[in-house]
């Protein structure tokens, strides 16, 4: 075990990284803006009195496209990483993933219902379209997670192992339902469905952004209050209760926060895998498993990582754009294997 980074150093480093990623995410793209202009335009958009001369184009691109996209990336990355920490704490296993409780597959099912259903009805008015998709995805994620949670409860106690198995079963079931919708879909719908399943920050708009920002802020403020209890939970459920932790309440909060966070993230940006798994791991390698550091650091690291992945997605095949889910899985899956094999050595 190498020596760990001091929390203070870690937070300074991650804040700088997050700031840099934000700056680059605002500046780079099909039309690259000069870094200095980007910064000035961004500050102007935040209401600082800066001379607008020569910034018209930058301000337009930033305000209409890059700023909502960057905010979306920050929120999705942060909330996925937080959900990963919550799930790894709940299952007391560093290899747990937010998808385990069925939230991702439920959201995918909800989205499939929305996409194929609206195509079947001959398309919904443009005003409702994106909202219906997000709402269905969110409801699907929350619904399946609630079902998994119910199935894991017996005699007033939540059996985490049962929940895990119920999550696997319901994920398979949702998968088959998504498969059925895929089979029923026509070519255009199929394309929408496929792209949605690969995840993208493309087409971010403020109207779809604010519910996610609200959820992210809520989860990011709530979970750190339970950091010490989460530490104790890692000792075991009975040990935590001997330390005075309300274990049933804590488990309920963790599942609820994850369902809300991942549900909102998937609703806004589609399926983006591996962030929730990899980010808490990286932070633990750097700073140890203490949740008082892990939770806030994971928010910053997750947000930075997702913006970097989005930059790759935007620039790798420019002017075409890769779905970001491909990028995160391409980086995340080998990293996951590395973690598995490292443990065996």
């Amino acid at each position: 075990m190498t020596t760990l980074v001091k929390p203070r150093t870690l937070f300074i480093g991650l804040t700088l990284l997050c700031g840099l990623a934000t700056w680059l995410s605002l500046a780079l793209g099909p039309v690259s803006l000069p870094l200095w202009d980007t910064l000035r335009a961004a500050l102007r958009l935040m209401g600082l009195p800066i001379d607008a001369y020569g910034l018209e184009q930058a301000e337009l691109i930033l305000g209409q496209i890059r700023l909502p996209r960057t905010l979306l990336g920050l929120a999705v990355g942060g909330v996925l990483a937080l959900s990963g920490v919550a799930m790894q704490g709940l299952f007391r296993n560093p290899l747990a993933d937010p998808g385990l409780v069925g939230v991702s597959s439920g959201a995918a099912l909800g989205a499939a219902v929305a996409i194929v259903g609206s195509a079947f009805l001959g398309g919904l008015p443009d005003v409702f379209g994106p909202y219906v998709l997000s709402l269905c995805a969110f409801a699907g994620g929350l619904g399946v997670t609630a079902l998994v949670y119910r199935l894991g409860r017996r005699d007033g106690q939540t059996h985490v192992a049962t929940m895990l198995l119920a999550g696997i079963a319901l994920t398979a079931l949702s998968g088959s339902a998504v498969g059925l919708f895929t089979y029923l879909a026509d070519d255009a719908t199929l394309r929408t469905l496929t792209f949605w399943n690969l995840g993208s920050l493309n087409g971010a708009s403020y109207s779809r952004l604010w519910p996610l920002l609200l959820v992210t802020a809520g989860v990011a403020l709530w979970l750190p209050r339970r950091a010490k209890a989460l530490n104790a939970l890692l000792l075991g459920e009975s040990e935590a209760s001997h330390l005075g932790v309300d274990v049933e309440g804590l488990k309920r909060e963790l599942v609820f926060c994850t369902a809300l966070g991942v549900g909102a993230a998937v609703a806004a940006a589609g399926m983006i895998g591996f962030v929730g798994l990899v980010v808490p791991h990286l932070v633990r390698l750097l700073a140890g498993p203490d949740h008082r550091v892990l939770l806030p650091a994971s928010v910053l690291a997750g947000a930075s990582l997702l913006l970097c992945a989005d930059l790759v997605a935007r620039l790798a095949l420019a002017p075409a754009e890769l779905p970001i889910g491909i990028v995160t899985a391409f980086i995340g899956a080998p990293f996951f294997l590395y973690l598995l094999l490292r443990g065996r050595a």
């Binding site: 075990m1 560093p94 530490n231 890692l234 000792l235 009975s238 209760s241 330390l243 005075g244």
Partner: protein
């Protein structure tokens, strides 16, 4: 202190624990012994509130155990389970620091207590080390330090329940750990400890409870309880009992 009245526990209609009545007094170390499957751990789970008794009552400080709120109970009752499943790379002092969770005593005070508990369990030299890199016996001592820190310094009104705290320890540490537990009781805490070694129990316990098939067979001082015929009846083991040449407590030797 802990009071147990006529406790019975059933599992799938089978009675696994019955007729348990005892007072765990401030300042005493009560050893619980018995063959495998005699109900020792079930007794400990019932006393810690993890398992609900089907009959009878458990009182902690004149109040029903189940009536205490989580944090208040944790301030006066600490439990060390037989094994732990912690699988995250905490540092040793962080694990011990988790024992301070039910208290709001502030960082400085907590650090002093963590240090004292680390010394008491003879793991002070492991401070700063990764918990996952420790041996089984070292981990066991770290968890003992954690429950000691939870009640530190140990006073009347506090209760410590330990399930085989010496099972993975070398001979020297079996004694140093039981001396630390003894010192904890001498400061006023009530301690119930499950042990397997009759001679360790004879040396460090004030009273011993022998369980046989879920029922108490004998309860009393080591001299009263460690009789050849009682040991034969409970463990099926032929023994000689002699006084310890220097200390006088009974010494049990298998024949």
């Amino acid at each position: 202190m802990l009071r147990v009245e006529g406790v019975q526990v059933r599992r799938d209609r089978k009675v696994v624990l019955a007729d348990i009545t005892l007072d765990l007094l401030p300042g005493e170390v009560l050893g619980v012994l018995g063959p495998n499957g005699a109900g020792k751990s079930t007794l400990l789970s019932t006393l810690s509130g993890e398992l609900q008794a089907d009959q009878g009552n458990v009182w902690l400080d004149q109040q029903a155990l189940s009536a205490w709120s989580g944090a208040q109970r944790a301030q006066r009752l600490a439990v060390l389970p037989q094994t732990s499943t912690l699988d995250f790379a905490f540092r040793v002092e962080e694990v011990v620091g988790m024992g301070r969770l039910p208290h709001q005593t502030g960082k400085t005070c907590d650090e002093q207590i963590i240090n004292a508990a680390l010394q008491a369990a003879d793991v002070g030299h492991l401070s700063g080390r990764n918990y996952l890199a420790l041996s089984g016996g070292e981990r066991q001592r770290v968890h003992l330090a954690r429950v000691l820190a939870q009640l530190w310094p140990g006073e009347a009104g506090q209760t410590l329940l330990l399930d085989e705290p010496t099972s993975m320890l070398d001979p020297l540490h079996q004694h140093t750990i039981l001396q630390a537990i003894r010192a904890f009781a001498d400061r006023g805490a009530a301690v119930l400890v499950i042990l397997h070694d009759l001679n360790l129990a004879a040396r460090y316990c004030d009273r011993m409870l022998l369980l046989e098939q879920g029922r108490p067979y004998a309860l009393g001082t080591p001299t009263q309880v460690l009789q050849p015929e009682i040991v034969k009846a409970v463990f099926g083991l032929e023994v000689l009992v002699q006084p310890h040449p220097e200390r006088g407590h009974p010494l049990v030797i298998a024949r």
